[in-house]
């Protein structure tokens, strides 16, 4: 019985292409949330309104002077107008004195 196979011989190229995004640094972290202003960003899906209320309660218990800017200030961060909504964020943060951001919901 022949043991020869006809599996052929191939030199196959990589099917992906080069990533165009190089690693970028994250923003500096805060020393504490005490006295800081935290913006809430929400895609208006998956009970984020309830989650942000609970987070406010928990964070204020630890940092009594922490302040929040409601998700209502920014509109949805996901939807038909996502690109425009995200582009406007840095400017709005400056106007509102934001120091940090909580963004939801990935569900």
């Amino acid at each position: 019985m022949s043991r020869q196979t006809n599996d052929g011989y191939y030199e196959a190229h990589w099917p992906r292409s080069e990533r165009q995004q190089r690693a970028r640094p994250l923003a500096p972290r805060l020393a504490s949330l005490q006295g800081k202003t935290v913006a809430q960003l929400w895609d208006q899906l998956f009970k984020g309104d309830v989650v942000f209320e609970l987070l406010e309660e928990a964070l204020k218990a630890r940092f009594p002077d922490v302040k929040f800017v409601s998700w209502r200030e920014f509109g949805s961060t996901h939807g038909g107008e996502e690109k425009a909504a995200l582009a406007a964020l840095p400017g709005r943060f400056r106007e509102l004195g934001v120091d940090a951001v909580i963004s939801g919901m990935a569900c």
């Binding site: 990533r19 165009q20 987070l55 996901h78 107008e81």
Partner: protein, 464 residues
């Protein structure tokens, strides 16, 4: 959500991204494409949609809140990038089985055998385009890789396409790169799949099926080009199941739908390509992403008035939760597609009705009571802070959605008649139809003209 966080981090604001347990791997993979592989996330245990108030409260207070504090105050450890081959590297040498085992093990294939992308096979595809093989047609999320002509040829070979399909493949990736389509949403949980509609003389030149068995595998161009689309999403855009492709339930790729242009010409209805803004006779691809739908058996009757109630009823029923895209959240991007068989189109057209008449009928009759529209999204789905009155009062959606306080008023499921799309294909002598439930801005319809090389006929003759 991570895209929003990345914008904030780049602008100098530390973030914490609230992430349900099942999405941690997606977040990890997506963050690499965003250039921030160490962007911090705060775990939300389980899935938020199925927790009682007490369970949610406990999880947020006892688990998520602490992670949020850490995310905003402690610098995450840096993550080293992973070395990758260069774009034209040979990654495996060996027999057919060995190549396929390697490609499957490295998540390059869909589980079926691929045709090994050798230099010779890739070159045959590149001969069917005048574009430079290094040219990039765009950058695709979530991996943020360059959509090069070379990579199109490689994945075309793998999918089992013939080299002469290359102009179609290039047009498809141009469409995939179009921001209006929204390829970055291709891994969302409802698991939508793209449908490719083909128009023009290429349908016959390349032997696409457009009659009985439309949307069925078994026809080389229809099937292999559909497979190419999925492979390209996997290998270049970067949508991988269990990572960035979060389809709860997916489908195998959709085979290409080629329209029956003979029938369209006979009844005087414009093909989809013309509705997308191209000239009659242009070779075009139109893509859109659909999350569901189904067939309608036996659309009976000899007049539009007898046939269209069944179509309108089915369009409304198949586009169920998808009406979220009709609200301000979706900015009115719902575009349901109805594919009718030739005999249905011919019977409707015989009464003098144009496509636009059918769309107007669907707009006026594919409606649901306002209370049902709101219950679907407000109570059953995921949009608890929304209602029609607010959207209309704020001028975010058309007035047709709130003309009175009567909860039984009938409201449309799209913003205007032209939002409906109608294509003609399938068994010429069977009165069936197919409704596609559209995925809104997460796969909005986009059309592209297929550019043929100057010596197309000679090249094609050489292949045949």
């Amino acid at each position: 959500m991570l895209r929003a966080s990345a914008v904030c981090e780049a602008a100098g604001y530390p973030t914490s991204s609230l992430t349900c347990e099942g999405f941690l791997r997606q977040a990890a993979a997506t963050s690499v494409g965003l250039g921030m592989p160490n962007i911090p996330v705060a775990l939300v245990p389980g899935h938020i949609g199925n927790k009682s108030e007490d369970e949610l409260r406990r999880d947020i207070l006892e688990v998520t809140a602490q992670k949020v504090i850490e995310n905003l105050t402690l610098a995450p450890a840096a993550q080293a990038g992973q070395a990758e081959p260069a774009p034209r590297d040979i990654v495996v040498r060996g027999g057919f089985g060995e190549v396929n085992r390697y490609f499957y093990a490295h998540e390059f294939s869909d589980g079926l055998p691929i045709v090994p992308p050798t230099r010779e096979a890739i070159g045959a595809f590149l001969a069917f385009t005048e574009r430079d093989s290094d040219e990039s047609l765009g950058v695709l999320l979530p991996d943020r890789r360059a959509a090069t002509v070379w990579s199109i040829a490689v994945n075309g070979v793998m999918a089992g396409c013939r080299p002469e399909y290359m102009p179609v493949l290039v047009a498809l990736i141009e469409a995939m790169c179009d921001p209006e389509y929204g390829v970055e949403h291709s891994g969302n949980t409802p698991g939508g799949d793209t449908l490719i509609i083909l128009n023009g003389p290429l349908i016959k030149e390349l032997g696409f099926n457009y009659t009985q068995g439309a949307l069925r595998d078994g026809f080389l161009p229809n099937t292999s080009i559909g497979r190419f689309w999925r492979l390209y999403l996997r290998n270049v855009a970067g949508f991988l199941p269990h990572k960035t492709d979060k389809a709860t339930y997916g489908n195998t790729w959709r085979v290409v739908l080629a329209e029956n242009e003979d029938v369209l010409a006979r009844i005087g209805w414009e093909p989809t390509s013309v509705e997308m803004g191209f000239a009659a006779g242009d070779n075009t691809v139109t893509i859109a992403r659909y999350t569901g739908g189904g067939s309608l058996s036996s659309v009976s009757g000899s007049t539009p008035e007898q046939m269209l109630p069944y179509l309108a009823d089915s369009v409304q029923k198949f586009n169920n939760w998808q009406i979220t895209f009709t609200t301000s959240h979706g900015n009115g991007t719902l575009r349901p597609l109805v594919v009718v068989s030739p005999i249905i189109a011919e019977t409707i057209a015989k009464a003098g009705w144009k496509k636009s008449d059918v769309k107007k009928y669907l707009y006026e009759h594919a409606r649901i009571p306002a209370w049902e529209f709101e219950r679907q999204l407000h109570e059953w789905n995921i949009r608890g802070v929304w209602d029609l009155k607010d959207d209309v009062t704020a001028g975010r959606i058309p007035k047709a959605f709130y003309e009175s306080d009567d909860p039984n008023r009938m409201v449309p499921i799209v913003w205007e008649p032209g939002d409906f799309m109608i294509a003609v294909a399938g068994d010429p002598l069977r009165n069936n139809a197919y409704v596609f439930a559209h995925n809104g801005f997460l796969g909005y319809p986009v059309g592209k003209k297929i550019q043929l090389p100057k010596d197309w006929q000679r090249l094609l003759a050489g292949r045949q």
